[in-house]
Amino acid sequence: MSALTISNLRVDIRGKTVLHDIDMTLEPGKILGVVGESGSGKSMTALSVMQLLPRGSRWSGEISVAGNDLALMDEPALCQMRGRDVGMIFQEPMTALNPVQNIGDQVAETVRVHNGASRREAMTIAREMLDRVGLPAENFPLDRFPHDLSGGQRQRVVIAQAIALRPKILIADEPTTALDVTTQAQILDLLKQLVRDEDMGLMLITHDLAVVAGLADTIAILKDGEVVEAGATHSVFRGMRHPYTRALFSASAHVPARKRGPEPAKTPVLSVADVVRDYAQPRRNLFAKRPPFRAVDHVGFEIFHGENVGLVGESGCGKSTLARAVLALDPLQGGEIRLNGHVFSSAGDGPHPELRARMQVVFQDPYGSFNPRHRVRRLVTEPFHLVKSSLRGADLERRIDRALTEVGLSSSDADKYIHEFSGGQRQRIAIARALIIEPALIVLDEAVSALDVSIRAQILDLLAGLSDRLDLSYLFISHDLSVVRAITDRVLVMKAGQIVEQGATESIFENPQHPYTRKLVAATPSLEAALAGGRTGHEERINP
């Protein structure tokens, strides 16, 4: 008897249909992957099962959890169901736990709410659960507070909370999107073990095809609120009957075509020598002055003309601090940075403004990169502030049109406000802003991380095309190895403020030398490997 059956589910929110004709089933001990881009309705499906739909929404169709039909259950019965028959974990671990309550109480609460166990009993179960999810007692006592834990550890506490009463179904809505690659691998393994040991059904919701390919037994692909294709994972991947599945698949594995190789031997566009960046630490108490935290520890590298260099590393390794140092947004504590051979900024001596025109930047969040009050025309021409001979009238217009068309937008867009554009279009405008002053180097700090897979592919193509056409070089910073692999010629791998390995992109990915790089490459779920290996890797473990 299947743990969860959903048949022709339809959900409307304030008159707008968000989900329609959804049919899914989930067997105990199996993993159902639900894949779709943002706005496809995958989270709404999960919330329908939990009956936590937003205010003012109406649903119809039939959902039965552990045999009982949700439509017949009143609120108290639903409260009984949540936590006991179905558990749920969410995307953002940093805010998923109550900051003013320790982890022991929060996990024990699930037990006490349902079967009114005494505080002591509930605590022992909580201890058991925390050990079960890999948070041993010696350094994770029950009275610790969420703010003392890392993202991965908090997600483990959330999982402990969800499975405290051994529910039949566990729903995981983008559980690892906010985590680093290595932590993501550990959490996914934990979920796989729980499904096998507890004979629990897991509905894994994600936008990342690679994650689902290596894990899910069956898969359902959602687009604009309806299931476009569903079935056993390997048959869906081999068949790919629906065009959207094919588009999604190709966008995920997309590698833009690149012609030019780097021209070495010219003076480097950017040379970073022995750079040090420290953060002052708050004093523990009045007298003991704590040593500063060294975020960037004597880093040195060069970028030659036309060369695209990638900088990868997990969050907290110092890559953003390095980027800000290169852009001279923060003062250096040691070393120096040169642009085209001229000293741009060094320890103690601030940036030389006239050199700034040689380097521009594109940020991660398309919605935060622009002043909502200015029109595109004014946004894009901001860098002209650096050029003393400011252009006027006609040639300024021409420059704007050229920049906009270069990135695939029309000149008529110049008079619009930024809120009238989608995420992808905004990133194009950001690139136009960087291009307009014809810099030698563009620093891209997680430039595509916030975009959906299909849009990301288009932006990568744009960047590849630009670097071929204009003699332009990139410093491409990202935590997503697959993106870096697609666009860069050379890669620097950073860990704890130091560059542990660097070299040509392909050689780094084919046979990484440094143990950390090896761990990083292995942890990155890759679509081809999962499909090529078929289910072999996966089957062995099922029946030991």
Binding site: E75, C79, R82, F90, A96, P99, V158, Q161, R283, L286
Partner: protein, 315 residues
């Protein structure tokens, strides 16, 4: 956390010193000479000069400032020009009325505001929410001295439930004293309760949208359980600051209400002292009020650290 509190303590004491300097200088700028005021309209000029000498009004400025501050530290606020009684004694009498009145008003305000704010937030955008918000809008808009006049008209003159004002003294029994503070407390509490209810509501609404509330619901807690166990404590933290601010405002804010109800509290003492140009009393009361505000701000910081573990020292 101790470093945080220590830093707060130092910055607040600096503010206190700066405040004492500012107050002293403003006092010097006040025209009107207390001695001539005390001697009355047909007083003999020679007698007025003798009195000035007697009260030490002719000493140089810095000397008087240092003398005053030295006195402050030992709790001696100097002698009042008009009453010729140690100011500390005067203030002690008056604080015995202003402090209970402030606490009474604060209690009323909190008792009205918390349930109203919580109810409004729990039933967001419902009829109850709109009516509570409407009431608080009105509460904030009503000038409290006008409301006091209406209270006196209705309850003291027409219904004669309460005395129209005055204070029988604590020795006349706790209940009699509290009775005479009831109407002033209500007049003071009305605007504060409205502000507090709005802050409580918006703080709770913010908390209800946090992710951990959704996690709590997913664990099987009912809507009210989730609100009580998780949202309330998180929402209370910002509300603490407002209560701290209101305490210091009420302590000094009663100045007009004390006049309408002729309560001999701190507000009225300082108001009369200003009109009688009794600079020593004005100076002392103002520095006392500033000190109270600073102490309350520090206490609120302490409460913050206690209520919010994120501020406690990391393990």
């Amino acid at each position: 956390m101790t470093a945080y509190l220590l830093r707060r303590f130092i910055s607040l004491s600096l503010s206190l010193v700066a405040a004492s300097l500012v107050i002293f200088l403003v006092m010097e700028a006040v025209p009107g000479d207390p001695a001539s005021f005390m001697m009355g309209i047909n007083a003999d000029p020679a007698a007025v000069a003798a009195l000035r000498e007697q009260l030490g009004l002719n000493e140089p400025l810095p000397l008087r400032y240092l003398g005053w501050v030295a006195g402050l530290l030992q709790g001696d606020f100097g002698v009042s020009y008009t009453y010729r009684v140690p100011v500390s004694e005067l203030i002690a009498e008056r604080v015995m009325i202003s402090l209970p009145l402030t606490l009474y008003a604060l209690a009323l305000s909190t008792l009205i505001a918390f349930p109203a704010g919580i109810l409004a937030a729990a039933r967001r955008n419902s009829a109850t929410d709109l009516s509570v918000m409407g009431a608080t809008q009105l509460g904030v808009a009503i000038p409290n001295f006008w409301f006091a006049m209406i209270l006196v008209l209705v309850f003291a003159i027409n219904l004669r439930w309460f005395s129209a004002g005055g204070f029988p003294g604590w020795d006349a029994g706790i209940l009699a004293a509290m009775k005479s503070l009831t109407l002033p407390a209500i007049a003071l509490a009305l605007p504060q309760a409205s502000i507090l209810a709005r802050v409580m509501r918006s703080s709770l609404i913010d908390t209800l949208d946090e992710d951990f509330m959704r996690t709590a619901r997913a664990k099987g807690l009912s809507r009210s359980q989730a609100l009580r166990r998780h949202a309330l404590r998180n929402a209370l933290i910002p509300v603490l600051t407002i209560i701290g601010l209101q305490f210091s405002f009420l302590l000094a804010g009663g100045i007009i209400i004390e006049n309408v109800f002729y309560l001999p509290g701190l507000g009225r003492l300082v108001f009369q002292a200003i009109t009688q140009r009794d600079l020593i009393v004005v100076r002392s009361v103002v520095i006392l009020l500033v000190f109270a505000v600073i102490v309350v701000t520090f206490l609120v910081d302490l409460a913050y650290a206690a209520a919010d573990p994120r501020l406690r020292r990391r393990r």
